[in-house]
């Protein structure tokens, strides 16, 4: 029996020291200053003398934002009075937003390589503690939240995140959590005045186009943002744009090429991008869900393309499904070949809407049917 215990203990010892070694190996490989995390010159295993609250960017290598846990239930702090219920923290939503700013380290400020360090690893739950330098767990949590939230929420209403427990509820207490966030509104169009330039007094930026038409994600343009630059609706967004005005555009537009200036810098406010008006090719009907790059495959080049379907689509008689045009052909027409209907006067294929009279010739004694050759679908 004794032997068994010893054996188990030994096993523990070995495995733990092995684990330690593994991490410390990772340590040394990282490009980190020792003083970032350690307060003393020579940290040892027993006395790592971890620095208090290192705020330098840690190193979260554990996972990508996409893998972040969805929700955390925070219920491990309790004051003297049990006023509020537990809090469901939308972890993933915050992680995604933080991509536009500081990233995970905005909250996970202390994270040496390895596993993600829990707040409670360092921050004590008991407030009545000896060490007064490090905030306790409750304070740490609240500070992480409120450091940002207080920047745009005018009132620090606890009920924004917490639900009151029954014995503290009043008649006016809301039954559910009030939404913490207001829907972030973005401008449809923004006109920047570029006073210094000789030509092109204004630069019109169509925000809507970029999201809806060009299908960009927020993070594609918005980097190094603070929470309040989007959430604080009172702030004029212009103020949050940094000095180098092209910084947000440069990821897609070539701002160095002088020939390109006039594309944005004009004398008058420009209209939003309209594919039909600008190129004559209407994409609203069939191609509205496409991103620019799905047709304009050559990066950075948006030259005119051949408007023939076949130039992009590899359709033939066999694999074309007529339904995508909005007309599901009925039994009588489904087996026709394309050219049976779509043929212009010169006998060439043309995929414009055909006339029924092309086939059903009244003069030849046929009755022109009143119905469509199939069923309209959406």
């Amino acid at each position: 029996m004794k032997k068994l215990i010893y054996l188990i203990l030994l096993g523990f010892l070995i495995s733990s020291s092995f684990a330690q070694k593994k991490i410390s190996k990772l340590h040394s490989k990282q490009n980190l200053e020792c003083s970032t995390c350690h307060a003393c010159e020579i940290p040892t295993k027993t006395n790592p003398c971890l620095a208090l609250c290192p705020r330098e960017k840690g190193n979260v290598t554990a996972h990508k934002v996409g893998d972040a846990p969805e929700v955390f239930e925070i219920n491990n702090i309790q004051g003297e009075k049990d006023i509020y219920g537990s809090v469901n923290f939308l972890h993933k939503a915050h992680a995604e937003m933080s991509e536009m700013g500081e990233g995970c380290t905005a909250c996970h400020h202390y994270n040496p390589p390895g596993e993600i360090v829990k707040c409670s690893n360092c921050h004590e739950t008991d407030r009545n503690k000896v060490d007064i330098q490090m905030p306790d767990l409750k304070s740490a949590y609240h500070r992480q939240c409120m450091d940002c939230h207080s920047k745009w929420e005018e009132e620090s209403k606890c009920e924004n995140c917490h639900t009151l427990n029954d014995n503290y509820k009043s008649a006016i207490s809301p039954t559910e959590i009030v939404k913490v966030y207001k829907l972030v509104e973005h401008p449809a169009t923004k006109v920047y005045e570029t006073g210094e330039c000789k030509r092109g007094k204004v630069a019109t930026f169509h925000h809507n186009d970029h999201i809806e038409l060009f299908g960009l994600e927020c993070v594609d343009c918005h980097q190094d943002e603070s929470c309040q630059s989007c959430h604080n609706q009172k702030l004029d967004f212009k103020k949050t744009v940094d000095g180098s005005n092209h910084s947000r555009c440069v990821s897609c537009h070539d701002t160095e090429n002088k020939n390109q200036c006039a594309k944005c810098h004009t004398d008058k406010e420009t209209k939003p991008f309209n594919h039909f008006a600008n190129t004559g090719f209407d994409i609203n009907k069939y191609h509205s869900k496409n991103t620019c790059n799905s047709c304009h495959t050559k990066k950075g080049s948006y030259k005119g393309l051949n408007s023939q379907c076949q130039s992009c689509h590899t359709w033939d008689e066999e694999n074309f499904n007529h339904t995508i045009t909005g007309l599901k052909l009925d039994e009588n027409h489904i087996d026709n070949s394309c050219s049976d209907c779509h043929e212009d006067e010169d006998g060439n294929l043309s995929y414009k809407k055909p006339l029924c009279t092309n086939c059903h010739d009244e003069d030849e004694g046929f009755v022109v049917p009143k119905n469509l050759p199939g069923k309209k679908v959406k």
Binding site: E80, R127, N128, I132, H142, S150, S156, K157, C158, I172
Partner: protein, 299 residues
Amino acid sequence: MSQNRRDFLKTFAAIGTTAATLTAVSPKVAKASSRGELSVDRNGVLVDTTTCIGCGKCEWACKTAHHIEPGNIEDYSTKLTDGSQRRPSEDALTVVNQIDKSVMNSDKVKLQCMHCDHPACVSACIVGAIKKQENGAVTWDTDVCIGCRYCMIACPFQIPAFEYHKALDPKIAKCDFCYDRTQEGKLPACAEICPVGALTYGTREELVIEAKRRIEKNPEKYHDHVFGEHEVGGTSWLYLAENSLVETVFPKLGTNPAPGVSESIQHGLFAYFVPPVALYALLGGVMWLSKTKENEGGH
């Protein structure tokens, strides 16, 4: 005045003896000074106004701990938004104000008794109802107070409040540093509930060090001054803030203990009862001399 001179002398001697006895006794009386020994371990609270979010939970907890009807807990966060600069009162021993309402995220300052190291109220109190406790708290004793409100005159921070509208048993109301709670080893109610830990409870000595550490670490975040470290001889409650709190929140005060001058005068006038006894002797002398003259004139 029909007594003769021997009588006069006899009585005078008796008075002299009484005075001497009083003189001998007086050091004991004079020792009951507010500048008595201060405990090194006395506690305090460091208020970091840059951390405070103005949720008002401390106000709620304070009322609950002091049996003042707290009302609805959800209403507290809105109290800041009306922009008024409230004062601690008999209905709220502590209040949180936002200094500058026009700046959205500006510092919020919690106000309550500062628990001075040399409290003017303790020195002033006619019956000694206010005491500086060993743990730093300045407390008030219901059973002793006569309601003269001299403490309110004396307090440099204008903190003590009075229940003017009670005919019987009106009380002086001020923060007592949750003396009962701290005696049980609990934290003061406000420091216990503060969600962001803007109130740090600890020994005053440690807190001063911690405050300076924070300033050193974040010099652009803090105004380089720990309010309360030296003001009126030091207070148990210490404040860190982004801007100077003097004249926006607190009056401009020197570093001398508030009761200093008053006590020196008082002790000067009554130094071991010498001046009063001397005056008595002098007047007695004058009376005796003028009487002698009169007697001589009469014979």
